[in-house]
Amino acid sequence: MIKKVTYQSFFFYFFIKKVFAAESGGMPQLNPEFWVSQIFWLTITFGILYIILSKLILPKISANLESRKLQISDNIEAADKQRKESEAKSKEYEEIIYKGKSDAKNIFNEAREKALKDINAKKEVLDKQIDEEIKKAESEINQLRKDAPAKINKIAIETASEITKKLIGAEINNSSISAIVDDLSKRNGDKYYGN
């Protein structure tokens, strides 16, 4: 490809040369009058340009680019670090929240159990007390029931003696009355204390 371009260039060169040769008497480029001057000034200007660019300007541009790259990568690194930190923080926060929740649950459960236990204990005590009271009352009732006929008999005897005294004005021996009451109560006992 390069060779082709070269040949084309050559053809073009000769074409141009022929076209304008008749008119101008050749190309100024082929006039060697100032060749040495051009070589000299090319060497000087290009040499100075090369030295100044390579020693002064290009290192500065390179340093600028490098420092920018460094700064950007530093910033990215810092951002990355902060992101990681915040991630760790949020994890910590979540853990705390989770722990708090489970703690609260535990505490609640404990309190509930304790309360239930208390309630149960108190209920037992109360049940016992109630049982006792009931037993006591029952025994009292039984006692009263047991005592009742005797007392009634006594009341009956006393009432009977009083009544007779009031009615006929005679003192009647309590023992005779009690014998009658006993006899009556035995007869009618079932009627009064039907158990």
Binding site: I2, K3, V5, T6, S9, F10, F12, Y13, I16, F20, E23, S24, M27, P28, Q29, L30, N31, E33, F34, W35, V36, S37, Q38, I39, F40, W41, L42, T43, T45, F46, I48, L49, Y50, I52, L53, S54, L56, I57, L58, K60, I61, S62, A63, N64, L65, S67, R68, Q71
Partner: protein, 244 residues
């Protein structure tokens, strides 16, 4: 004004005649535009590298983009071994580009439209690359002329062709740039002349041509600088990494 389209390429003395021995090294219009181009490059890149702000200014961006552009071009074509020659290729690219671009301004002189200038650059590159090749590979550099996988019968012919192709590198490199610049500028001058000679009535067509040609020439100015630099990189690549 039937100006000769070749007069724009004429070199004339500015100031007194300076002679060293038999050699005339007077300051000419060609010298002036070499100096102008070099100084313009130095000023632009100096301003572009002075302040290092994280958000680049326009000139800084220009300088840095040029730097990365050339840097990428070199690493793509010649690899990392060509790093030490970065400054040279950068200077070369910028010098040719600025000379071409300054030539696009009316009434200026195009330094690169002179075969002697482009040939000197190309010859310097050719000699430099050859020296680098021999330093890196010794006489092994001659293997460049012996491609692998060629039948033995054809080998003498191939070697001769390769040697001719190698020796014609400075010529092709210099003539390509010179011919492109000269042809473009001549064409623009010719069309400009048509505009004048055809006048208000018929001058519009060559004028529109002239406008289009200006755009094309600006493209060519950049492209030829790029081609010049990239071919230098390719030659350097041959010398640094012997592939054959």
């Amino acid at each position: 004004m039937a100006a000769n389209p070749m007069t724009q390429f004429e070199v004339y003395r500015i100031g007194p005649e300076i002679k060293i021995g038999a050699f005339d090294i007077s300051f000419t219009n060609a010298s002036l535009f070499m100096v102008v181009s070099s100084i313009a490059i130095m000023i632009i890149f100096n301003l572009g590298s002075k302040k290092n702000s994280l958000l680049p200014t326009k000139l800084q961006l220009l300088a840095e983009l040029s730097y990365t552009f050339v840097s990428k071009m070199i690493s793509d074509t010649a690899g990392s071994k060509a790093r030490p020659y970065f400054a040279f290729i950068f200077s070369l690219f910028m010098f040719v580009l600025f000379c071409n671009m300054f030539g696009m301004i009316p009434y200026t002189f195009t330094v690169t439209s002179h075969i002697i200038v482009t040939f000197m650059l190309a010859a310097f590159i050719f000699i430099g690359v050859t020296i680098i090749g021999f330093i890196k590979h010794g006489f092994g550099y001659l293997k460049l002329f012996v491609p692998s996988g060629v039948p033995t019968v054809l080998l003498p012919l191939i070697v001769i062709i390769e040697i001719i192709s190698y020796l014609s590198r400075p010529i092709s490199l210099s003539v390509r740039l010179f011919a492109n610049m000269m042809a473009g500028h001549t064409m623009m001058k010719v069309f400009g002349g048509f505009v004048i000679s055809l006048g208000v009535v018929g001058g519009w067509l060559p004028l529109s041509f002239s406008v289009a040609l200006t755009g094309l020439e600006i493209l060519v100015a950049f492209l030829q600088a790029y081609v010049f630099a990239i071919l230098t990189c390719i030659y350097l690549n041959d010398a640094l990494n012997l592939h054959h």
